[in-house]
């Protein structure tokens, strides 16, 4: 939905993109404050997941340190889960896993989507028909089904496999939107000049097309990142999460299975729930702020 609405975004070159970001950061308006606060909070979350275990010396998420749902204490700030693991340590490692899977998934999805979208939009004709036909077929098959089936089909699911599985099922929306943008860019003069001077299709796409929709691609990536994190959580809660690691979704999976909600052990289910909500919310604000900068019509409201 959000991706579609951005088709109206003005297309700008890469340098204009950076200039736009700079203008926003230095303008000191409410928009830039909102953007800055969410970026700072996101960086804190990344730091929490990656540096937290090092700084706090809590680096054994699978160590059994207590009993079934021990309440929070001075030593274990968020108590223990159903297996007696320290929830706080699990939260740090879970955040890390979820962010990594989301990044891989978002990267893969954005890459495939941009590749298919630009090639289809630039080449046109039969190539476009075939690539968009493929996209339309993939779009109509619900991704959760393919995710479930793929996750069952691979025996062991590592962090990377999970990221790839989610990435290869979520690119069609990006492809469709990028194709629309590319079609409108194709007829620009600078593209003609590059073509006349003998540039190949891929280098032309990389140097003459992609820089002009960079803001758009960044937004698509942010949405895919957020989507990837939530898809991972959903799969993990269904019992199809990555093996041998902890993620926010896996924490919720066990918390639900061992009835932490109904027994009132809030420390087991509330932290991952709030973290997922926070990550989704922050990424949405970042995405909508970027959108507002490049789409002035939205700024009025």
């Amino acid at each position: 939905m959000a991706v579609d609405s951005q088709q109206k975004t003005n297309t700008k070159s890469g340098s204009a993109f950076l200039a736009g970001v700079w203008r926003m950061l230095t303008s000191g308006r409410a928009l830039s404050q909102r953007f800055l606060i969410s970026v700072v909070l996101l960086i804190l979350l990344v730091g929490f997941g990656i540096l937290g275990p090092l700084i706090l010396g809590k680096n054994k998420p699978m160590a059994i340190v207590g009993g079934l749902y021990d309440a929070p204490s001075a030593k274990y700030w968020l108590g223990t889960d159903n297996f007696g693991h320290d929830v706080f340590t699990q939260l740090m490692f879970g955040t890390r896993t979820s962010l990594i899977i989301g990044t891989i998934a978002g990267g893969v999805a954005t890459f495939i989507g941009v590749l298919i979208g630009t090639v289809a939009g630039y080449r046109g004709n039969i190539v476009e028909e075939m690539l968009m036909g493929l996209t339309n077929v993939v779009i109509t098959i619900p991704s959760i089904v393919i995710l479930i089936l793929l996750s069952i089909a691979v025996k062991t699911r590592s962090i990377v496999t999970m990221g790839l599985i989610i990435g290869v099922t979520s690119w069609p929306w990006t492809a469709r939107a990028v194709r629309a943008q590319t079609s409108s860019l194709r007829t620009r003069e600078h593209v003609d000049i590059a073509r006349l001077s003998g540039a190949g299709t891929l280098s032309l796409i990389a140097w003459e097309i992609i820089p002009y929709m960079l803001s758009y691609i960044v937004m698509a990536f942010v949405l895919q990142l957020s989507g990837g994190i939530l898809q991972e959580a959903a799969l993990s809660m269904l019992g199809l999460g990555p093996n041998q690691v902890i993620s926010l979704g896996i924490m919720l999976h066990w918390a639900l299975l061992w009835e932490s909600v109904r027994t009132g052990a809030w420390w087991a289910f509330l932290p991952p729930t709030l973290f997922l909500t926070l990550i989704a919310f922050l990424l949405l604000i970042v995405q909508s702020s970027i959108d507002e900068i490049f789409n002035p019509r939205l700024r009025k409201a």
């Binding site: 619900p142 269904l238 199809l240 639900l256 919310f281």
Partner: protein, 336 residues
């Protein structure tokens, strides 16, 4: 053949193709599992104890025959298609001899009863709220819009968990899950219906809030674009009452929202799997959850097939309906 018929035929062909791809995926992927799914099941039974080796051997052979796993893969695929055509989805591994279609038939009414009203009510309320917020502006816009944006950005299962904890555990306003009171069995008696209704409100609330939020945000965005349109300015300058102008905006902003409604109904089966799990609601989500835990592949496959068919049909219906409703698409299709 007119161009409009060609448009229809084109759409039909695309959906037949998508359906074929979906069927092949649904058939093939679970069969890629390293080893044999029957091995897993038999190993589980053996570790449960109480079953002699000879009995296990019999179970093994029976399963291999039942699923045709000793035949070449293309024969298996045709057997699968033949059974599908008869509406037979096979036997559940975990609840044998229960048939998959019967398990699904038990769970599906719960999912539909939970979600269809939530989708419809959420759609109507959300769209009205969206138009009102865009048209009236001011505090209504700020309040309703910010709240909608916040609620619709919460992952739906996170909202379910928070509501369950707050409204059923912290303050015991609602029963903490299940479709009806423990120890009851589904019947059409008054006590059962009353109990089912008590258990209904909380999952319903958690779904309807998400729908209202999502629809309101979408409709507000559509309406903000419409506000600048000439017909709105003109009506205002003529002194047309607000209610009627809102009605005009509503109709003009409606088309994408109707798509949203149809797609939401299509994704009904697979759309709230985890809400059902959170509330232990006896629908498709809970069925899928338990079948994944028990490696009950026939049930998993049956559920994924059902989700796919529902989504494909909804997409198809939207495309066909657009051909009729939207004059622009009709014009393109008929070449006017």
């Amino acid at each position: 053949m007119t161009k409009f018929q060609r448009y229809l035929l084109n759409k039909v062909l695309w959906f037949v193709l998508a359906f074929a791809v979906a069927l092949v995926f649904n058939f093939l992927l679970p069969r890629l599992i390293p080893g044999n799914p029957v091995d897993t099941i038999v190993a589980q039974m053996a570790s449960g104890g109480g079953t002699s080796g000879e009995a296990l051997q019999k179970v093994y052979v029976a399963y291999i025959n039942e699923f045709g796993l000793d035949k070449p893969i293309w024969v298996q695929f045709f057997l699968y298609l033949r059974n599908l055509a008869r509406g037979d989805l096979g036997v559940s591994f975990a609840l044998s001899p229960a048939r998959v279609q019967d398990l699904i038939a038990q769970a599906l009414p719960w999912s539909i009863a939970l979600q269809l009203p939530a989708i419809l009510i959420g759609w109507v309320v959300g769209n009205l709220l969206g138009v009102l917020a865009a048209y009236k502006g001011g505090w209504l816009d700020r309040g309703a819009f910010t709240l909608s944006l916040f609620i619709s950005s919460i992952p739906y299962y996170c909202l379910s968990i928070i509501l369950l904890y707050l409204l059923a555990v912290r303050w015991t306003l609602f029963p903490p899950g299940g479709g009806y009171s423990y120890g009851m069995s589904p019947s059409l008696s008054w006590t059962f219906v009353k109990s089912a209704l008590e258990h209904y409100w909380l999952p319903f609330l958690s779904l309807v809030l998400i729908f209202i939020g999502g629809q309101a945000v979408g409709m507000r965005a559509m309406s903000v674009y419409e506000l600048d349109a000439d017909y709105v300015r003109f009506s205002q300058s003529l002194g047309v009452p607000d209610g009627r102008i809102i009605g005009y905006i509503f109709r003009n902003g409606m088309l994408p929202q109707i798509t949203g409604l149809a797609l939401a109904i299509g994704s009904l089966v697979g759309g709230a799997l985890i809400t059902e799990i959170v509330f232990s609601y006896p629908g498709i989500g809970t069925l899928l959850f338990s079948s994944i835990r028990q490696n009950d592949y026939p049930v998993v496959q049956g559920v994924t097939l059902l989700i796919m068919i529902a989504v494909l049909l909804a997409n198809f219906a939207v495309d066909i309906a657009y051909g009729f409703i939207d004059p622009r698409i009709r014009a393109r299709a008929t070449g006017d």
